[in-house]
């Protein structure tokens, strides 16, 4: 055992696993053996949720995109589709995400800045005009304002003749993580949970192929969580939604398959692989054993994995292209269903066309040139990978136990305890980077001291487009039947207050061109607004 001697530096992953220089079959036995590995496409899905994985169908490529008006966003969609992108992921601007119209005073300077501005159904119609919703699945990154935005998507699809019964797509709609990181909450925690419940119930009954929630470990990781915490908090949040929906009397198999996940990839390659293999296995066991699901699809952890914004650096931005390629590899080795990569200029700005195309090409090169799709779960059976998968599962389970013992994730989030814990960790991490204990190329090692200005093209803010968006909203308001809109918004208030599912009345209201701000305003009349607990 000379290789285990004192002369090698210790390696400890962010999640706390101590890594040995050499793994043997004894380590596999010590950590729990190979019993939990199983076959691909079979419970507990450690090796992937499909029997043939990428041999049958490679991952979907779904870059996060959108900026300015619906027209500009559609042009970017068309640009990406023409270059082989197979899914869309819509970015909305901050006013839309916070449930405010473009003419709200708080929206000034933010209209169309970090995503597409959507005020009414007219914008949704414009964004997808000419795009075949059967041929490409659309994912929408919308959380606080998910109810009116999903309603607009459904209304738009319905008007174009797509049946809700068959409509595919995903809404992010994971509000609990917005309280931990990202911050586009609107309503208090319990009412926010209820709205997520309404969307899940509505989809289970009327849009069974639509994924109403994509539970995000991603943003929790970006806020400073370790990979093990990212998975644990994600699974805890998913269980909170399960518990809520089950309390409405729905059968677990009626909705479980509709939930998907969104995870982050940056940092140690092997730690990501262990995180996903362990997380898939654990989730399958939870859904089967704790919730008594019968349908294997309910037990499958379907995911988009990629990123990883937190790994990118402002320094030497082209290095981010190389980082993106490694993250894509980690994502493929982890058996993701969908992949997205942050663009190399994203630490600064809305991605340029050139940067967006490079990210897409990075995934395509991985898919087509280097054999990433040749065989299922190629790392299976490695003593190292199976041992660390076992250890990671134990780690995630321990964190889940702590969350439960402290009163559950909803309470921990409402009291700001998860936020404070994650923030403390982010601080420690920053300090370790500053001290050089965690190497970052171009930042604390291999710096380019002479470099003055970064060679990145900045996306300009278009004041004229922002004004045009406000004028467009005014025109819609003038042309719609205002009395009808007021009556329909009253029905939204009534449903919210009476505990009825708000989705049907909201769909009716947005169909009559009620705006995002008006729908959220009606809901705020009943629910009030969230007040952030400030806790360090």
């Amino acid at each position: 055992m000379s290789a285990q001697g004192k002369d090698v530096r210790p390696v400890v992953w962010e999640s706390g696993l101590e890594i040995k220089p050499v793994y043997t079959t004894a380590d596999v036995a010590r950590t729990g053996g190979l019993d939990g590995v199983g076959e691909p496409g079979e419970f507990p899905f450690t090796r992937g949720i499909h029997p043939l994985m990428y041999r049958r169908q490679p991952w979907t490529m779904r870059q996060y995109s959108g900026f300015g008006t619906a027209t500009e966003t559609r042009e970017r969609f068309e640009f990406l589709i023409a270059r082989g992108q197979t899914g869309l992921n819509v970015a909305f601007d901050l006013p839309t995400q916070c449930g405010l119209d473009s003419d709200d005073p708080m929206a000034e300077g933010e209209i169309g800045r970090v995503g597409m501005a959507v005020d009414t159904l007219a914008d949704m119609e414009e964004a997808f005009e000419g795009i075949d919703l059967d041929a490409i699945s659309v994912s929408m990154t919308i959380n606080g304002a998910a109810v009116p935005i999903m309603a607009m998507y459904f209304a738009m699809a319905d008007k174009r003749g797509y049946s809700l019964e068959r409509l595919r797509g995903t809404a992010q709609n994971d509000i609990l993580k917005e309280f931990i990181g990202r911050g586009t909450w609107i309503f208090p925690v319990e009412h926010s949970m209820r709205l997520v419940g309404d969307t899940i119930e509505f989809c289970a009954k009327h849009a069974p192929r639509y994924s109403p929630v994509s539970v995000c470990g991603y943003h929790i990781r970006e806020s400073g969580a370790t990979p093990a915490q990212e998975m644990a908090y994600g699974l805890a949040i998913a269980q909170a939604y399960f518990d809520h929906v089950l309390s409405r009397g729905l059968d677990v198999d009626a909705f479980a398959g509709g939930l998907s996940f969104n995870f982050d990839i940056h940092g140690n390659l092997w730690e990501q692989v262990a995180k996903f293999r362990a997380g898939r296995r654990l989730w399958a066991k939870i859904v089967k054993e704790r919730y008594g699901a019968k349908n294997p699809r309910s037990m499958q952890l379907r995911m988009i994995a990629g990123g990883g914004g937190g790994g990118l650096t402002i320094e030497q931005p082209e290095n981010n292209i190389a980082r993106g390629a490694y993250y894509a590899l980690a994502s493929a080795l982890s058996g993701t269903q969908t992949m997205a990569l942050c663009c190399y200029d994203e630490a600064y700005t809305i991605p340029s066309e050139h940067a967006a195309e490079l990210a897409l090409r990075t995934m395509q090169i991985l898919m087509l040139e280097i054999g990433a799709c040749d065989t299922v779960d190629p790392l299976a059976g490695s003593w190292f990978v199976e041992s660390t998968t076992n250890e990671m599962e134990a780690k995630i389970l321990a964190i889940l136990g702590e969350v439960e013992a402290s009163g559950g994730i909803v309470r921990a989030v409402a009291e700001g305890r998860v936020q404070a814990a994650v923030n403390r960790q982010a601080y420690e991490h920053e300090r370790r980077v500053a001290r050089g204990e965690i190497p970052k190329v171009g930042v604390n090692v291999l710096r380019d001291e002479g470099a003055e200005e970064h060679p990145v093209e900045l996306h300009p803010y278009r004041e004229d487009k922002a004004r045009a968006q406000i004028e467009r909203l005014g025109k819609v308001r003038r042309e719609r039947d205002d009395r009808q809109v007021r009556a329909l918004l009253e029905r939204v208030r009534h449903a919210a207050g009476a505990g009825e599912n708000v989705m049907p009345p909201v769909i009716d209201a947005v169909r009559a061109y009620a705006s995002v701000g008006e729908v959220c305003g009606a809901l705020k009349d009943v629910f009030g607004s969230y007040h952030e607990p400030i806790r360090f």
Binding site: M106, V114, G183, I314, N423, A434, E453, Y461
Partner: protein
Amino acid sequence: MSKTRVLIAKPGLDGHDVGAKLVCRALMEAGMEVVYTGLRQSPEAIARAAAQEAVDVVGLSILSGAHVPLARKVKEALRAQKVDDVLLVVGGNIPRCDHEQLRALGVDAVFPTGTDFDAIVGFIQERRSA
């Protein structure tokens, strides 16, 4: 000299608060008294808080790209509250080509993402003792 009092604020709609909270912690560790506003504050609310809390420094954290209009409005609101003698600093995703414009608006220092905490602490201490 009395303890330095700092208001860290998130103006506008940007929800990225990791950096703001990290800076709060670093300033507290350096012995300063820190008030954090939380997300989505209007420029007027920030200026009112600065006046009420009698702070010496106002730090804005902005990662959405809207730093120029937001800094301008906060500066105006501070003037309206007659507290524009505070140090005004801005941090976040601020490209170098905008630093000059921010300083012209009356921002005393810009600390883009990746700035060492010690540099922020050092700047505040130096200006306070000057």
